[in-house]
């Protein structure tokens, strides 16, 4: 039988990203960094949902925290690539 390679049905491996916690969030989860496998389509929003499920005390994090990807602010629909650095940022308080 021929192999079908229809993109939409191809099972691709999840996207592995690093997740970092800062300031009060690091205190909440007792953790500064972890890695996460995010099923495709791997978005910031999906990553956050997984963090809240899988990380110990992750449910104490907000549903829509401020997030940066690779040192730039990012919105929930931002798509993640392998190796991306996802940072969860408590409300900023510089100045």
């Amino acid at each position: 039988m021929p192999e079908f390679t229809d993109e939409s049905s191809t099972v691709q491996p999840p996207v592995s990203v690093r997740v970092r916690f800062y300031a009060r969030y690091a205190e909440l989860v007792g953790l500064e960094q972890t890695t996460l496998n995010v099923p495709r389509p791997a978005t910031v929003g999906r990553a956050i949902a997984l963090v809240r499920e899988q990380v110990s005390n992750g449910g104490s994090l907000p549903v829509r925290p401020l997030v940066a990807v690779n040192e730039e602010h990012a919105l929930p629909d931002r798509e993640l690539a392998e190796g991306d650095l996802v940072a969860l940022l408590p409300p900023l308080a510089g100045g």
């Binding site: 970092r20 800062y22 300031a23 009060r24 940066a68 040192e71 730039e72 602010h73 940072a87 940022l89 408590p90 409300p91 900023l92 308080a93 510089g94 100045g95």
Partner: protein
Amino acid sequence: MGYLVTDAIDVSELLAQVASPGCGGNAAFVGTVRRSEVDGPVNAIEYSAYEAMAGAEIDRILEEVTEQWPQAKVTMRHRLGRVPTGEVSVAVVAAAPHRDEAFAACRHVIEQTKTRVPIWKKEILESGGERWREDRSG
């Protein structure tokens, strides 16, 4: 880079850095650690940052200033670590040929810094307690 420092911030030195013979208007914003906060007297604030991103974000903010006010020269410093009450936590200086641009550029940098730069503060209370402070009114 070099915007995040652990030593005291010298505002006069910063003003001298942006000063130039063509710029007659210089504006500065200086934030200091306040004593009176909601949860009682504050002895110090402990500032922490996502340093790599904070530096990159400040770079972006300063580039925006150069685009919007090409004749303005701006720089800033933000202190990290423990800053005692009354000391300078942040300073922004802007020099421009005229004062409107200097004020506007200075204001832009401090507003954007507070909105976008990943820095956090924990109040060290006189009572011995500690508390994350997460508003931007200061």
